[in-house]
Symmetry: C2
Subunit: 502 residues, 2 copies
Amino acid sequence: MNEKRLAEFRAFLKKMKSYEEAIGLIYWDMRTGAPKKGLDARSEVVGVLSGELFRMSVSEEMGSFLEEFGSPETLSQLSVIDRRIVEECRREYDRSVKIPPKRYQEYVVLTSQAESVWEEAKEKADFAMFQPYIEKIVATNLEFIDLWGWEGHKYNTLLDMYEPGMTVSKLDQVFGALREKAVPLLAAIMESGNKPDTSFLRQTFDKEKQKRFSLFILEQMGYDFAAGRLDETVHPFATGLNPGDVRITTRYLPDDVNSALFGTIHEGGHALYEQNISPELIGTPLCTGTSMGIHESQSRFWENMIGRSRAFWNRYYPDLQRNYPGQFDNVSAEAFYRATNEVKPSLIRIEADELTYNLHIMVRYEIEKALMSGDVKASELPHVWNEKYREYLGIEPSHDGEGVLQDVHWSGGAFGYFPSYALGNMYAAQFSRTIRREMPDVDAKVEAGELLPVKDWLAERIYRHGKLLTPNDIVLQVTGEELNPDYLMDYLTEKYTDIYKL
Amino acid sequence: MNEKRLAEFRAFLKKMKSYEEAIGLIYWDMRTGAPKKGLDARSEVVGVLSGELFRMSVSEEMGSFLEEFGSPETLSQLSVIDRRIVEECRREYDRSVKIPPKRYQEYVVLTSQAESVWEEAKEKADFAMFQPYIEKIVATNLEFIDLWGWEGHKYNTLLDMYEPGMTVSKLDQVFGALREKAVPLLAAIMESGNKPDTSFLRQTFDKEKQKRFSLFILEQMGYDFAAGRLDETVHPFATGLNPGDVRITTRYLPDDVNSALFGTIHEGGHALYEQNISPELIGTPLCTGTSMGIHESQSRFWENMIGRSRAFWNRYYPDLQRNYPGQFDNVSAEAFYRATNEVKPSLIRIEADELTYNLHIMVRYEIEKALMSGDVKASELPHVWNEKYREYLGIEPSHDGEGVLQDVHWSGGAFGYFPSYALGNMYAAQFSRTIRREMPDVDAKVEAGELLPVKDWLAERIYRHGKLLTPNDIVLQVTGEELNPDYLMDYLTEKYTDIYKL
């Protein structure tokens, strides 16, 4: 084991991480308030830095590091951290070097054009505009999958990019189990005579007051403002530049008290993950969340299992009332709790409640799988989309703008990403079951405004590991079993049976 | 002339510019609101990108471009722009390659340590703490000057870094002429029985109102908010990332109506320069102000020749009154104008008025010159400083914190920088004289709120050229003569004779 070379490898990776951090900051700035007229030049800066980062990732230097440290014998001599670093780099390296640079470059241009075409197509509800692009994007993905190699199902190779180890057969099983219980639960809710009143959620809410309350809740969650900041954007997001700088954004709707609040808690959950990664992983490729699904489990856990819980509102509703003087005088904590948990099938994924959200994802999953197996052609997308919405949610879009064109993901080629959202919900419920076992008074703690023990529990078991553990390792290690969709359905069934008096 | 190689050279320079832009954005972010806990990692990012930028600037690649395009014969075949680019790169290249990398690295570490020691030393008014650092910094500068080469006076080599072409003999002449008239003018002002009342400047001013008025004046000046933004920092600054993204900051003091206002106009002047550089210079090393002195002339022109003029306040004082309802009811425009032009010798440079500011600079100039010639030793600095203040301004610091330790510049090794401030004042007055000749109704225009013709005049003659013209070229071309300190003294004499009824 050549210690000097290992130090060189670590320095090389740290340099790559510096480029990533610079690019991350530039994107944050572009989205939060960079002057419009400077954006063309700024895009070139991103191009230069990204190009350099990509060059390093597939360089001979990287290749020789991987060769040197990647043999089974050397791997076994490495520390646990270094071993995982080598594995992760190998994974990225293999993926990148298999694509001819020219084809990759063409694909980048294609998806960048497709994103602006999609924007216009969505606006005009004109799928025909977008069809040639989605056709080429699907074709290029299939071409790349052949270069990367695949097992079982072509779609597996894409799933693995966002959720390492995830497969079609696993997803078919968990989504099947989920759907089996979700559909009748939704039907029962729809037939319930005990629907919550939600009218008071739609008043006019002062932006400064919304911001103040968002900041208050973030602070309660243990979000570290010396290692982050809250800004305002049209599309909320979280970005971890390094564990000491994890920024989030939210959006304040003037007529909706919950949009900013739950958006902030959601992004705050992502941020807690990134802020609490172990310092020993800083400067390595392991210094980030282990997968999109596990990351989403943390945003969902805080947003739903904590933020939409009765215990939470028993504690924080008086604060909310005080924050909006006079606006909730005649609304009880219980009424507010029930209203924030309204279930209602809708056409738009990002507005969906905890239950129907998963059905939106299943529609997309089924379609992506069929696109990759060749069972559905791009031209058939609008028809298939509408059919699946009727089948899964019982409603149908009136035009493609609120149908097949609603999400940006496909225009950027992000096939395989959508399942992460539903996986996040399932992981979150499974973690929630575990914390209740290990910390039986968790509801009492939340009701007492003690959210920090919850954060610490998650930090100890999940956050600090970053990418050192795989998603499957995390779930196994924390909960004692693999991903199990029953916990989500048990949680939802219990919650809605109570709220809707089923 | 190898067109392909020229294109490669241009691409190489554009890449360097991208690194510069990324570093500039990171610094802006660090100063405007980056979370504290992320700063250590962020400094490493800056280190990686700056290192790469420096590596490119002294690379064999750069060397071979300069060799290829730098011969008199090839130079003569290049376009005016490309010729200046080669000259500028040669200048930077020669400067950088002559310093052994190890010595440069040690100097970077020294000045970085010196800056934090200086901060503490200033706080404690303890020059002895700082003395060993300033000694080493001076010694290293002298060592570097020998490596770079010098003519006439060692200090010339440092002056040339900030103001290409500037020399001790030129500065001795202009500062001598300036002082000859400034000292008696100051004495006359001090003896005047017609001092302005300034009490109304020190009320409590709402921050949001200060911000609103700053934004209003910036807009009047023609600052393009689609190509910039205004933020808040302890030390105001302007940064031109590219002509489409030129950001400024200001600082709102609760008890001073003028600090934010004139700070904003000052930085706005810098920003107008950078926003209006010709698009054909984008992505080249010429896309910035031509020197520190010319840059400062633009901030000073807007701050003083426009912002502290009677015409300006005849137009904008009613707006100011409306902006602070009730706070200026009993103050006339004339009284406000006179108050903003109060002259008063003080110990602190950055609080100085238009007249005494130049004397503060001359003290520093004399000291820097003497340090570089060996006539003054670092250990003698406090004594020399105090003596010069008595001589030039008639007052003496009570401790070194408000004396020799007041400025950050020397701790960073920025010898040769201070004269730019006074040069800026002189250039500004000279430009002001020219605009009055070419646009005789300029005061009437300002009084009518027509500031855009002024901006356009400056853009056409100065801003658009960026670094394509040298400072001397600019002054000659715009005013028809070389730098002439009489214009500043004429301007100040006329202004204060009127205000103080001398």
